[in-house]
Symmetry: C2
């Protein structure tokens, strides 16, 4: 078991090595992502590549992309994604950090007005990042325009020390002895930190030199497409994590023998016990099922993206509900299943050498991040209720809920069963 | 997060300090146990006081107790409890370590004939213990008499190095960054290690100087009484662990606010959400319920013990089934509940500073140790089936299953409900 410091240094070394190989071998973006996946240890680079770069790509203007992305690609700057605050997780609209436009200097003033407004959790923030995409309430001409993204430099590119007005730190130990302890999840506070106006991500809306807030003609729905994408990858990852756990538990159950010996004969493989089978095999089946679900969601994402580009937003709510619901169901079931696999390995599952304790500790945050599972299920329920209400007004539901269009017919269906006995 | 070595040294320091205070303050055994409880960190002393000493007390002759207990009380020797083997957990009858009597030297030869016969898991074995109570198959006059306990010296009292023929080690990192990583769970192999005959625990059965195997008149059932005691304490501990977790989650839910703000007003306490209440309050109720269950089991243990001493074994099977079943139900539910409390604290529950990750990692082995929960429930089911069969032969069931005596009456009871609607 490494100490926290050793663990973090180990991650830095692995990330640097992977980066070197990616450059040397001139890997494509897709190949580079695969190599990073195989490093198989959470690290600050996950956020740099997985959220900082995509945020600029998705929400930055062409000009902004041209300025920031080359530096990010060459690792001249290291970015993280600072959205969640100490007091605000799921409720993004409740974030308190402010970005107030000052027309006298053409700058935004980033500020943390309360303790609960401290950015809390961003991976890569505690030690590594030089920059962050920070989400804050945009205030101009005395009016609050809600949450927008801003590129903010956090640390000096010379000596890596925090810039004036910026308080930074690591938020401390997390579940597991490895898991997310290799990640420098951090805390960040702003004391009236000034950034140039053009560091607001301006693809969807802008603030003019005069301080006017204007919308671009890029549809806001494109943002939801990204959310669908991220959640789709989480579902695919659930299958990977569950496959690993089930593989370990099945192999253990095939080797491990216990009880059932007749007069000193060999004991019975635990795989042959019905109690073991009834717990293990449904998890094995789920690992396959989630793989197919992940593939289907990938198709759904492609389909929605193509429709969005053609300005057809009709399938977006259903795609959003599908990804939200399936993200919730698959991650909760996978976290429980890894823990069940661990218990199915008896005492041995408690040893780190079984691979299962860290698999659980590193996986289980998926139930909370990118939408708390309970909150997501409530969103699905709301979507279903809304759809039922709309059916009454004649609107035709699409995709997986198209069947609701037959509600009149469905309501008249009767079961042939009419007694308890039958 | 401490490294494994720092963590273990920290435990040694705490155990030594507690020991010093216990001696200085002349604490009673009960007070000393309470002080050790408050150290609140698994350590080798748990096994010394909780299993090594009780095993000698329960299974040693008066002579053996007179010889070994004073040294154990003064910590001149440190003991552990070496039962579980790499290949054998729940199936104690399947243990492979042998203790073969050699009448030519009046010694037992302790041996690990296979890899799977290696002792694996005993706490306190990896680093600290000088002695162990080792469970092995007793072989004398060419016959295997099954599993018996032996006091075996493992390390030199001069320089703490393993004695000849003994291979010892620590089995490595375990679930969590603290949890049982402060414990030196170990591995032990014997290569024909000789111990004097009088180090067999001889209260229930003996091997004579000539190698004859003889039973004493002490009833074997007394051993089951100890098992009832240990499991009763586990149920009481479930209530403690669950109370801690629920206390943290309730206080968090009262402070944490999220969503529900009207036009910038304060957000809603998460405790006021029905989704939070429906998950949290049943756990709060369970924490109280398990406390009462623990107290009832303590009464049951006292009652059984008194009856056993009067050679009345009638209530033992039912007491055994009650403790086995309640151990299984309360520990499984508590482990799940701690994890649920962790998730009820959102992302913050994932930080070690919430107290919940380590509470889970240190608690969850209770589902496996002292009887795997699934195996225990199967034992309860077998007991119930056996009781039903015995009722038919006229034997009256006692205690919690006394109601089965009314089976004729019960079978004739009918529900007033006879339609789906009612």
């Amino acid at each position: 078991m490494l100490s926290r410091k050793e663990l973090f240094k180990d991650t830095l070394k692995k990330a640097a090595h992977a980066w070197k190989r990616i450059v040397e071998l001139r890997l494509t973006e897709e190949e580079a992502n695969l190599l990073r996946l195989y490093v198989d240890q959470p690290g600050y680079v996950d956020l740099h590549w997985g959220m900082f770069v995509p945020a600029i790509k998705g929400q930055g203007t062409e000009e902004q992309q041209k300025k920031w992305l080359p530096m990010a690609y060459k690792f001249q700057i290291i970015g993280c994604y600072a959205q969640t605050e100490l007091g605000h997780g799921s409720n993004v609209q409740g974030l308190e950090t402010t970005a107030t436009f000052d027309p006298s200097t053409d700058e935004f003033v980033m500020h943390s007005p309360t303790l609960t407004s401290s950015k809390w959790w961003p991976g890569g923030l505690g030690k590594a990042s030089t920059h962050a995409v920070v989400y804050a309430r945009l205030i101009t001409e005395g009016k609050d325009y809600g949450i927008h993204g801003f590129i903010v430099q956090l640390r000096s590119l010379d000596d890596h020390s925090p810039l004036p007005g910026i308080t930074l730190g690591d938020i401390g130990g997390k579940f597991g002895s490895g898991a997310y302890n290799s990640m420098d999840n951090g805390v960040l506070r702003f004391d009236h930190v000034r950034i140039p106006r053009d560091q607001m991500l301006m693809r969807l809306s802008q603030v003019t030199r005069e301080g006017k807030y204007v919308h671009s003609d890029v549809p806001k729905q494109l943002l939801y497409g990204t959310m669908v994408y991220v959640r789709q990858t989480i579902v695919a990852d659930a299958s990977k994590a569950l496959s690993r756990a089930v593989c370990i538990a099945v192999r253990y159950s095939a080797i491990r023998k216990q009880f059932g010996s007749q007069a000193g004969g060999p004991e019975t493989q635990v795989l042959n016990y019905k109690t073991q089978q009834s717990r293990l095999f449904p998890l094995l089946a789920s690992a396959y099922a989630y793989r197919f679900v992940g593939q289907w969601l990938k198709w759904l994402y492609t389909d929605v993206t193509q429709k969005l580009e053609a300005k057809d937003y009709s399938t977006l709510p259903e795609a959003h509900a599908c990804t939200a619901g399936l993200k919730s169901v698959t991650t909760s079931a996978t976290a429980d299943a890894i823990e069940e696999c661990r218990k199915l390995c008896g005492g041995h599952g408690y040893l780190n050498s079984s691979g299962l304790p860290e698999l659980f500790a590193v996986y289980v945050p998926a139930c909370t991040y990118e939408g708390d599972n309970v909150v997501l299920l409530l969103q699905v329920a709301r979507f279903l209720m809304k759809t039922v209400a709309q059916v009454a007004t004649g609107k035709q539901p699409v995709g997986t809920i198209a069947y609701m269009g037959n509600i009149q017919h469905l309501m008249q269906c009767k079961s042939a069963v009419n007694t308890v006995r039958s």
